[in-house]
Amino acid sequence: MDHQSGLGEIVINVLECKSLSKWYGEAAVLKNVDFNLAQNEIHAIVGENGAGKSTLVKIISGLVPVDVGTIKFEDSDRTFAHIREIQNSGVALIHQEPRLFPDLSVLENVCVDYQVRDGKSKRFNWKKAEEETKELLAQLGCSFSVHSPVKALSVADQQMVDMVSALRKKLKLLIVDEPTASLTPSEVARLFATIRKLNASGVAIIFIGHRLEEVLEISTRITVLKDGEVVAVKKTSETTEDELIRLMVGRNIAASSTDSRSSSKEVSLKVSHLESPGFVADVSFEVKKGEILGIGGLVGAGRSELLETVFGLRKRTAGEVVSSNHGSIKTVKQAISARVALVPEDRAHNGLFLNRSIGENLVITNLNLTSKGGKRNFGKETQIANELIERFRVKLSSASQLVRELSGGNQQKVSLAKWLKQEVEILLIDEPSRGVDVGSKSEIHQFLNNSAKDGMAVVMVSSDMRELIELSHRIIVMRNGRIVGELSGSEISEESVLRLASGLATAGKAN
């Protein structure tokens, strides 16, 4: 496949990767991948989770060594270069989660890997660095102080700090790995403006994203990976979202059913006047059996904290949570025995035991089924684990594989699947498809729809507007810890949710 032919012009490549292959254990993550990058392009890489996108850019940026193949950057061979050498030659990788130092200030974060050059003076010029950093931040439209500790910044601002650290060096290639996962729309716009500006000034960009509408908006060319292989390289102007999905998945994805939006009248969970200082203020709502209640709002509106407070994880100062079948819920223990399950946003820290096997993670919530008198029954555990793995189509080499080694989508499936056997009546789910690929996403959506049909009450927090609108029967919108509006039926639209979330409309007058 000739990657240049599509462009119909002569292009000078800054980066040429030839037949890259990489194995983790016996599993091939990359198979014979060719990847070329021209200086003036914003090249998106799309693919399902586990398709090898992150591995590819980790190899390019020197974080992970390649097993077979060659990498040429600006005409010099970089196949086995050390990460520092690669970074000093102007390559920067911005991760899904910003890799910063929370205890250090913005300025210190930006300067920490600065190399003193020319040997003129060994002393680092903090004043000069501060001025340069301030200027770069101003260029990116950031208003926070260079002296504030990074842990005090929002995720979006932290990403900007990460970006500025990259810009301090002479940048030639910027790789952004799923940068928009936890950003609000206006923050995404700011990020895209920055990326375009950099690209215009001669920085080649590799962009990894799950939200295809964003990929189509920002990129000029798109490489589609599937199972570690390049299946297509397309000019963005000559492709569509549908085509990309077909290429990525290799099968047709069932569109989420929006038809049967009937839920019963029976209230499953009633929350009244819930308060958690600083995060949740006077929140009341009900969820009915078989209903998916969406919670919309901007990042930081207190949505995750609301779920945590309902589940009993976060201290509450006032209010009541009552399950109609099991009575009042105050503690996590009561919540679990009332058949409430929480699938948190941060899988890595709260949802899973990363260093344990998939099997163990699946069994941990089901020990009541697989043990008798405190003694584990390993046969039964294996049986349940395998059943869940099959039902959720988790991609793995064996059930004893560590969860840490799974891709984001598959981790999320494990995180959900472990509740499946527990006859959960009320599911609290936070960002069900954050960092999840298209295929897994649709499977998760199907699971939520089917579960609701079977009578489960679902409370779902999502920043993915499409997901929120397509899945929810009803949406409540939060802002600054309060519910600012409720939408149902025909009132539900992207615009109405956004208007409420950003405070442009008041309750009940969203449209």
Partner: protein, 338 residues
């Protein structure tokens, strides 16, 4: 708005050191009123000498703890350095004093290098690695010295006078202590290297992905604390004149780590200041001397230090929690006003 936030934080951080300072004043008042002899000049200079030794080693330990590590072997390292230096002096009475100091620091540096390699390239958690070398170095002191102690007459007068004489009115011992603290202050707040040390402790994975040499920084801080423990060995010799293989600086690691933790260095890495450690050392020194002077039994003395550590960390946690909450509130308000 951001500026306000910022000054509020520095205020809270300063408050922590101010708190230790106040507690020191309270201790002075209590001990002084129970036992007036506490304020006699010979007692005060005894306190200062032990505080000085703590400070020299504590300054190094601060940077080690900042990188999420801990060095339990500092007492044995100090003992080893003192013993080797003492033996060199005994065999060569004319050995120049600067040479002796360098010998002690070299021995300490080698001990630190061993720790650093075990922790970085050996990938042994520092608490295990240095627990091992704590015993190994202690054993080595016996082997090297043949279990013969260094007597006061074997120690050069110039060394002993480090604890008493001075060029500017305060003894050399304290000058070394202050210099160590100032050095750590300078490294941590003024240099890029310092920022890298804090970065490694703040987010080790991030440090690697930003191209910082994690192993080099780890080795460096262990060598640094080793060299300072070597210097501590010189000061220990100056103060006690006798180096007994069995009890030279035995248990020093407890006082040093207590002082660093009480001084506010986060045991989970990433934060901590030289000033905090200095104050922590003063606090430990006064407490341990004062309890003896007022006649508290050694058993209660150990308990008191233990309680102090727990109280310091507990209060710290409370403050941090509240601080974080206020922080989030402030940020949220900021968003609203935007």
């Amino acid at each position: 708005m951001a500026v306000q936030l910022n000054s509020k934080i520095t205020y809270i951080f300063k408050k922590r050191e101010f708190g230790i300072f106040l507690f020191i004043l309270v201790l002075l008042a209590v001990f002084g009123s129970i036992e007036p002899r506490f304020f006699r000049s010979d007692n005060l200079s005894a306190i200062l000498s032990s505080v000085g030794i703590l400070m020299v080693v504590g300054a190094g330990q601060t940077l080690v703890i900042v990188t999420r590590n801990i060095d339990l072997s500092v007492g044995s390292t100090l003992g080893m350095s003192a013993m080797v230096m003492g033996m060199v002096a005994r065999e060569n009475p004319d050995f120049p004093i600067v040479g002796l100091i360098l010998v002690a620091m070299l021995v300490g540096g080698i001990c630190g290098l061993i720790n650093g390699y075990l922790v970085s390239y050996g990938m042994i958690p520092s608490i295990i690695a240095t627990l091992g070398t704590l015993a190994i170095f202690r054993g080595a002191i016996f082997l090297v010295s043949d279990n013969v102690q260094i007597d006061p007459e074997d120690v050069p007068k110039d060394i002993i006078s480090l604890a008493t004489t001075s060029p500017i009115g305060i003894p050399w011992l304290l000058i070394f202590a202050f210099l160590s603290i100032i050095l750590v202050w300078y490294i941590s707040s003024q240099t890029l290297l310092g920022k890298r040390i804090y970065a490694v402790g703040s987010n080790p994975e991030g440090a690697v992905s930003r191209g910082l040499s994690f192993n080099k920084i780890t080795i460096l801080v262990f060598v640094f604390v080793g060299v300072l423990a070597g210097l501590g060995g010189v000061l220990y010799t100056a103060r006690y004149a006798t180096i007994n293989p069995a009890d030279v600086a035995r248990g020093l690691e407890f006082d040093v780590i207590s002082a660093v933790v009480i001084g506010g260095t986060n045991i989970f890495g990433g934060s901590g200041t030289a000033l905090g450690t200095a104050l922590g050392c003063v606090l430990i020194g006064i407490l341990s001397n004062g309890l003896t002077v007022v006649g508290v039994s050694p058993f209660w003395k150990a308990c008191a230090t233990g309680f102090l550590i727990l109280a310091a960390v507990a209060i710290d946690n409370l403050v941090r929690k509240r601080q974080e909450q206020n922080f989030l509130l402030a940020i949220r308000n900021q968003r609203v006003t935007k």
